[in-house]
């Protein structure tokens, strides 16, 4: 018994002595400094491109606020808070120049993100290179991070893999959702992107016929300014061999709406598939009519139902969604611009965290070498010049269908090597 008492007593004394000693022993961590990370975004806020630009800017700034709420970006002994400034490039060259000027020379930002305007974005690249600050832009619909051009060593291209996506887009869709599809009619917008896509798909003709039993019965281009798709659709309707599916790669939202509506009008009741995403499903349905809209497949893919998105970013995207809903009352649909600006911002933030410094050199090196995590998984810079070079890459995409009044993901094409 004695020993037991002594032991307990010893323990108590030890504890009484130990706790203050421990507290003394651990040195108190010093108070943290706070800094400001100015990030500018150049986005079309006026002019015909603004339907894409305005929500992009808003989502990105919501994201920036959330990052600040989570305690900013700790680097060394400093906590950096993001101040996010948006500037209007009117989706024109001179507008882009003006906004580059405003951001880099007047606002003196640490980095520039956003913008969806190939290849005018290179104007920003030039200014950024001159001022030596990192620029993450969407210069071309290519996957992953890329160095844009040797001339602009600080400029990176983080984009959505449309061009690569279409390579197995239809086969995947067929195997997943539309097994009965045998013949495709192909119409592309007659701009550079559309032509690239058309050539690409034509080059895959044999492969599709052999491996997937898909036959291309029609292909055509409609001019950029064309508003009414009836001429082409009626040709498709009059084909000897009925088309089971209309693939309007590279069609913009208005084009898609017109194709869906008018194909319905002339009695072509077949699925209409396109690669780009919708801006606003509700309005889209109103434009092309409820019945017609039910045939529409797009690559609607938000981070919250994207397989490769890390839990951290899934959660973040859901929070952004919530903030948006509280602010607008309406649901944040995919097209309201996760892909570009907010994603660029995310990439920049994680690059800064990885580099653990805000020096341009370090960040650029990180972006070039390390795997960068963003809303759509993790990408590594290819180091190649973006323009004109076709490359084999993995891509991630989801095709979703309009069901009732919202988009439902149909099939996820995750991490497949392109043939």
């Amino acid at each position: 018994m004695e020993t037991k008492k002594i032991f307990i007593g010893f323990c108590v004394i030890f504890a009484i002595l130990a706790i203050p000693l421990m507290t003394l022993g651990a040195d108190p961590n010093p108070p943290l400094k706070t800094g400001v990370l100015k990030i500018g975004a150049s986005i079309p806020l006026s002019g015909p491109m603004s339907p894409w630009g305005i929500p992009e800017a808003e989502v990105a700034s919501i994201y920036a606020d959330l990052v600040n709420q989570d305690g900013g970006i700790p680097i060394g002994d400093t906590i950096y808070k993001i101040t996010f400034t948006v500037s209007d490039d009117k989706a024109t060259p001179d507008g882009m120049k003006a906004s580059a000027d405003r951001l880099i020379n007047t606002e003196k930002v640490n980095a520039v993100v956003g913008g969806w305007l190939p290849p005018i974005a290179t104007i920003m690249g030039r200014e950024g290179t001159a001022a030596n600050i990192p620029v993450i832009h969407m210069v071309r619909e290519t996957p992953g991070i890329q160095v844009v051009s040797p001339q602009f060593p600080v400029m990176f291209d983080l984009g959505w893999p449309q061009i690569q996506a279409i390579k197995v887009y239809i086969p995947k869709l067929k195997s997943a959702a539309l097994p009965k599809v045998k013949t495709i009619a192909l119409i592309c917008k007659d701009d550079t992107l559309g032509r690239t896509m058309l050539d690409l798909i034509k080059s895959l003709k044999q492969d599709w016929e052999k491996n997937h039993g898909l036959e291309m019965v029609y292909d055509a281009m409609f001019p950029i300014t064309a508003q009414d798709m009836t001429p082409w659709l009626s040709k498709i309707a009059a084909l000897p061999k009925k088309a089971d599916l209309i693939f309007a790669a590279s069609a913009t939202v208005p084009n898609l709406a017109m194709i869906a509506k008018q194909s319905h009008e002339i009695g072509l009741k077949v699925p209409v598939v396109t690669v780009p995403n919708l801006t606003d499903v509700g309005e889209f349905i109103k434009i092309c009519g409820y019945e017609a809209s039910q045939y529409v497949y797009t690559s609607g893919c938000a981070p919250w139902d994207f397989p490769k998105t890390s839990p951290k970013f899934k959660d973040m995207s859901n929070r952004i969604r919530k903030v948006w809903k509280d602010k607008h009352g309406s649901e944040l649909t995919f097209g309201d611009s996760f892909p570009w600006c907010a994603n660029h911002l995310a990439a920049y933030v994680s690059a800064v965290k990885l580099a653990n410094s805000i020096k341009t050199e370090d960040i650029v090196r990180t972006l070039e070498t390390k795997p960068i995590e963003h809303f759509y998984g993790t990408s590594v810079a290819s180091g190649e010049k973006t323009y004109g070079i076709k490359r084999m890459l993995t891509y991630d995409a989801t095709i979703s269908k309009i069901v009732g009044r919202e988009q439902k993901p149909v099939v996820t094409l995750a991490g497949e090597p392109i043939p």
Binding site: D88, T92, D94, T106, I120, T122, R126, R195
Partner: protein
């Protein structure tokens, strides 16, 4: 249209020179970046506005002035990117190319009168723009990009804003002096005669087409020059950069300033326009609303343009006959 500053007295010349030099010195030392940008835009649009006003002088209202910016810019782009021509050669050549186009087209379309010319000039500019937007050699809808930065000449470096500011101000001075001389010489008078009544002018042996084409070509030359320089300054151009709105701006700056004076009008108008364009708020929609209301307000209270403010200060002195310059 009374012409107020029609006497190039030596004093006025000296004053102008001093003003210009002072401006450049100021620009070099004090001017903040934002204002350097404004000044560049000011110089650009002043020159374009003057070009537009010369065409108005011969009685033709051109609604497609942006076409010359477009042609000039693309000519420069093709020369530098496809043919690797040095900047200065490209600059001059594209201006000349622009005026040749103007010569050919003008000889055809300048016969039309009033609204019909207005429309056909608009049509012409749209044809050029859309054709470029459809032509792969010219980069189609993506346009030309990645234009090389010109080499420095003497102290003027084109990797900085100042360098470009000097270039554009130089072009502006060139244009302003030319137009000044034209307006205050017989040429300007002849243009005014033809603008007032082509038939009467013709009955005095003045062939209106000759002078109309002349004015058109000169206007095209300077606008093309600006367009070429602008394209290289931006580093990338696409057809979206030469739409209907840009032709409108050319008219706006000229008329805001006042069509009464071929030099001072655009200078004033372009200054006002660009300052507003830079400083107006970036709430979507609000800026174009405000710009619209502003235009209405200015034109409503000063139908003669800003120049009429100055006219109300210094009266035109008539009476003693003077030998025309």
């Amino acid at each position: 249209m009374k012409m107020t500053l029609t006497k190039t007295s030596p004093a006025m010349k000296v004053l102008t020179a001093v003003l210009i030099l002072g401006f450049i010195a100021f620009a070099h030392t004090f001017l903040p970046h934002r204002w350097q940008h404004i000044c560049i835009m000011w110089a650009i649009w002043s020159t374009v506005g003057m070009g537009w006003l010369v065409i108005l002088r011969v009685g033709q209202f051109s609604a497609g002035q942006a076409v010359f910016l477009c042609i000039g810019g693309y000519a420069a782009g093709v020369l530098m990117l496809k043919l690797n021509a040095p900047f200065w050669v490209a600059l001059v050549l594209s201006a000349i190319f622009c005026s040749v186009v103007a010569l050919i087209v003008g000889a055809i379309i300048l016969r039309l009168k009033g609204l019909y010319f207005l429309v056909i000039s608009l049509v012409f500019s749209e044809i050029v723009r859309l054709t470029i937007a459809a032509t792969d050699y010219l980069g189609a809808s993506e346009g030309l990009w990645d234009m090389p930065i010109p080499k420095k000449i003497g102290p003027v470096v084109f990797s900085t804003k100042q360098g470009w500011l000097y270039l554009f101000v130089f072009i502006l001075i060139l244009a302003a002096l030319t137009f000044w001389r034209m307006e205050n010489s017989r040429t300007g008078k002849i243009y005014a005669y033809i603008g007032a009544s082509p038939d009467l002018a013709q009955s005095f042996g003045l062939y209106f087409m000759k002078y109309r084409v002349q004015a058109y070509v000169i206007s095209a030359f300077f606008t093309g020059l600006v367009g070429a320089a602008l394209a290289v300054y931006l580093g990338a151009i696409n057809p979206e950069g030469f739409t209907f709105y840009y032709s409108l701006v050319a008219q706006i700056v000229a008329i805001l300033g006042g069509v009464g004076s071929i030099v001072w009008g655009p200078l004033l108008g372009s200054l006002l326009y660009n300052v507003f364009d830079e400083y107006l708020v970036y709430i979507p929609g609000a800026r174009s609303l405000l710009m619209g209301l502003l235009l209405i307000a200015v034109i409503f209270f000063l139908p003669e343009g800003l120049i009429s403010l100055k006219n109300s200060f210094l009266k035109k002195k008539g009476g003693n006959p003077v030998v025309p310059h």
